[in-house]
């Protein structure tokens, strides 16, 4: 009998082509997503006159630089237009399938991949983007890589990696009303710290995780990297299989695939290097106050006072963040004025996210400007079929075209310097949404509540 193994162990063992004495394994890669930013890697490949080894396992998606406003006109900024055109040229030249600007499947890579059924349990999935951890929601091993590694995967369909450690995060109990997957993952990051899971792959388990629908599991796995983890995973179950059934790229013999996927979950006796347990019922709607996702606190809390921090280095760090964010210690977060809202990104731009935001905005007006950007063309169409776009527009928000948009601002959608933005994205880093921009991370329902009041608001008060 073989020793009990974790989900990660099983994925690793089934993909390790060889392992050297020094511990480095050569892993087979099942799916490789490329986007506009992958141009450095294509350049390296071309420079060395190397072909793409498995174009059939490589998929291009335009997301980081696509405009979120009308797609009928050409992109105004020539550098931005060049990024989108370059992806097109590189994928065409190498015979790679592309969900380009005008494709009905286009979207943020971490929304479009799963949606098309390209993301499956038991696969290794990489992309030159740290939020590739999203795909772990299906019981895949998905992780972000840099440009040199992208070039390596393009050339060989493999990657040298050292086996990460296993960290299990168990969420017992049930989430409260208006408490979402975003609140859950923010609470986990606050608990682990921004570097708390470095060197680990997190497996999320427990009743609260099992109860989550696939989109919510993606939200959780998406932000694993914000705790420093290489990847996040949820063992596949019937929820996973039902979600994947009938997707365009789902396996032809789906039943045989399910039978194989049922063997993936961690064995009951499997040993984890670390384990952390949280009570889901104790999690409140959560927001960040600082410039790292680890500064997540319940919306009922106040801005921390550095004077209360005994450790000098940490005190200084709190002070710097308060400076950048323009905050005074002791200010209640509930009621803190915001200048705009952004609802979108690979964390929170799927249909259930848009529904949650629309439920708060229905029949209400936004007090501040805001941008709602669906995660993909299919999400956009489905939302419009339900009339969600009307709710957002009637509230005074802009309904955009699918892409990364104001999450990172590379397409030109940025938050002006000094403005405070309630955002459903995943990073509140200094300058992330534009130079001098101040980002508060929260769930879609919380961002919608912030839009209505023009201030951070406990959505539970707005939605009895």
């Amino acid at each position: 009998m073989s020793a009990p193994r974790t989900l990660l162990d099983k994925l690793w063992d089934s993909h390790a082509i060889l392992t050297r004495d020094d511990g480095a394994s050569l892993l087979w890669i099942d799916r490789h997503f490329v986007h506009e930013g992958s141009f450095h890697a294509f350049g390296m490949l071309d420079h060395a006159h190397r072909p793409v080894h498995r174009p059939d396992l490589t998929v291009g998606v335009a997301d980081h630089y696509v405009p979120s406003h009308a797609r009928t006109r050409p992109i105004a900024d020539p550098e931005v237009a060049g990024m989108v055109a370059q992806l097109q040229a590189n994928t065409v030249r190498h015979g790679i399938r592309l969900f380009g600007l005008d494709d009905a499947r286009q979207g943020i890579v971490h929304v479009a991949g799963p949606e098309q059924g390209l993301t499956l349990p038991g696969l290794t999935i990489v992309c030159g983007d740290s939020h590739t951890s999203t795909h772990g929601a299906f019981g895949a091993l998905g992780f972000g890589i840099g440009a040199s590694e992208v070039a390596h995967v393009l050339a060989t369909q493999t990657l040298w990696q050292r086996r990460p450690r296993n960290l299990r995060v168990v969420l017992n109990g049930a989430l409260g009303v208006h408490v979402a997957a975003k609140d859950l993952i923010l609470a986990i990051i606050a608990r682990l710290g921004a570097g708390g899971a470095v060197g680990h792959v997190i497996e999320y388990a427990g009743t609260a995780i099992r109860a989550l629908e696939m989109e919510a599991r993606m939200t959780v796995c998406n932000m694993s990297i914000e705790a420093g983890a290489r990847a996040g995973m949820v063992a596949p179950d019937d929820t996973t299989f039902q979600w994947l059934a009938g997707r365009p790229f789902a396996p032809a013999d789906f039943d045989a695939a399910i039978a194989a996927w049922r063997t993936l979950p961690s064995d009951a006796e499997a040993r984890f290097d670390r384990e952390v347990t949280l009570d889901a019922a104790a999690i409140a709607p959560t927001v960040t106050w600082g410039t790292s996702p680890e500064t997540a606190v319940p919306v009922t809390a106040s801005v921390p006072d550095p004077a209360a921090e005994p450790d000098a280095a940490r005190r200084a760090r709190i002070g710097e963040q308060l400076d950048y964010m323009g905050l005074t210690p002791g200010t209640k977060l509930d009621g803190l004025t915001v200048d705009r809202v952004f609802i979108g990104s690979c964390t929170n731009a799927r249909l259930p996210d848009l529904r949650a935001a629309a439920a708060v905005l229905r029949g209400r007006r936004a007090a501040v400007p805001g941008l709602v950007v669906p995660g993909s063309v299919p999400v956009k169409r489905a939302a419009e079929a339900e009339g969600l776009d009307r709710i957002f527009r009637d509230a005074g928000l802009i309904w955009g075209e699918p892409g990364c948009s104001m999450c990172v601002g590379t397409n030109g959608d940025t938050v002006p310097r000094g403005e405070r933005c309630a955002a459903t994205s995943n990073r509140n880093f200094q300058g992330r949404q534009g130079p001098g921009a101040r980002t508060h991370l929260m769930s879609p329902a919380m961002a919608a509540a912030a839009a209505v009041r023009g201030a951070i608001t406990d959505v539970r008060r707005l939605m009895p």
């Binding site: 990297i225 396996p251 032809a252 130079p435």
Partner: protein
């Protein structure tokens, strides 16, 4: 890429935790070709310029957390940095650094001033301080070899072509559902 063996150079100190890749290089510069020289974008929004002769950066914990942008490594290298010393690093950043010949040394070195001259001895895995003391560090053996040799992995991997082909053959039977259909 240039092989890394030993380096004696002055340090620049950036004593802050969680310096993420958005701070190392803001996203708006990532569309620039490498030939533009990424050094000019380093810490662009932090309003920081490194002492001109610094080749070693000493930083706080979790340096390089955040996005996978390899531009963060290009910016450091193009600004003349060959080694970053920090208590810990973002995983992807550390991987990218090794791919490009930038050494990351996981070590807490408190109380250094800008301009302190350190010697990094990669073969011996030690950092020598001006007072004659030395601090040892450990580095992944595979990464160390790559840095010492100054080569990329693709040739090494291609030398395993037979093993890869054998893997693919058995994998087709073991996981017939894993390909891209449609």
């Amino acid at each position: 890429m240039t092989p890394f063996t030993t380096l004696t150079a002055p340090v620049a100190v950036l004593d802050r935790a969680n310096i993420d890749t958005d701070q190392i290089i803001p996203a708006r510069f990532l569309r620039k070709p490498r030939s533009a020289g990424y050094g000019q974008f380093l810490f662009a929004d932090l309003g920081l310029t490194l002492p001109r002769d610094a080749a070693i950066l000493v930083a706080g914990e979790n340096f390089g957390c955040g996005s996978s942008r390899e531009g963060a490594v290009y910016a450091l290298i193009d600004a003349g940095i060959s080694c970053v010393i920090a208590p810990s690093f973002g995983d992807i950043f550390a991987g990218n650094a090794a791919q490009n010949g930038l050494l990351t040394v996981a070590l807490a070195l408190a109380g250094l001033a800008d301009g302190t001259v350190l010697t990094i001895d990669l073969p011996a895995e030690v950092v020598r301080l001006p007072d004659g003391t030395a601090r040892s560090f450990t580095i992944d053996a595979f990464r160390k070899q790559r840095l010492l040799a100054g080569r990329d992995d693709i040739d090494l991997t291609l030398s395993h072509a037979a093993a890869i082909a054998a893997f693919v053959r058995q994998d087709r039977t073991a996981r017939p559902w894993a390909g891209v259909t449609g």
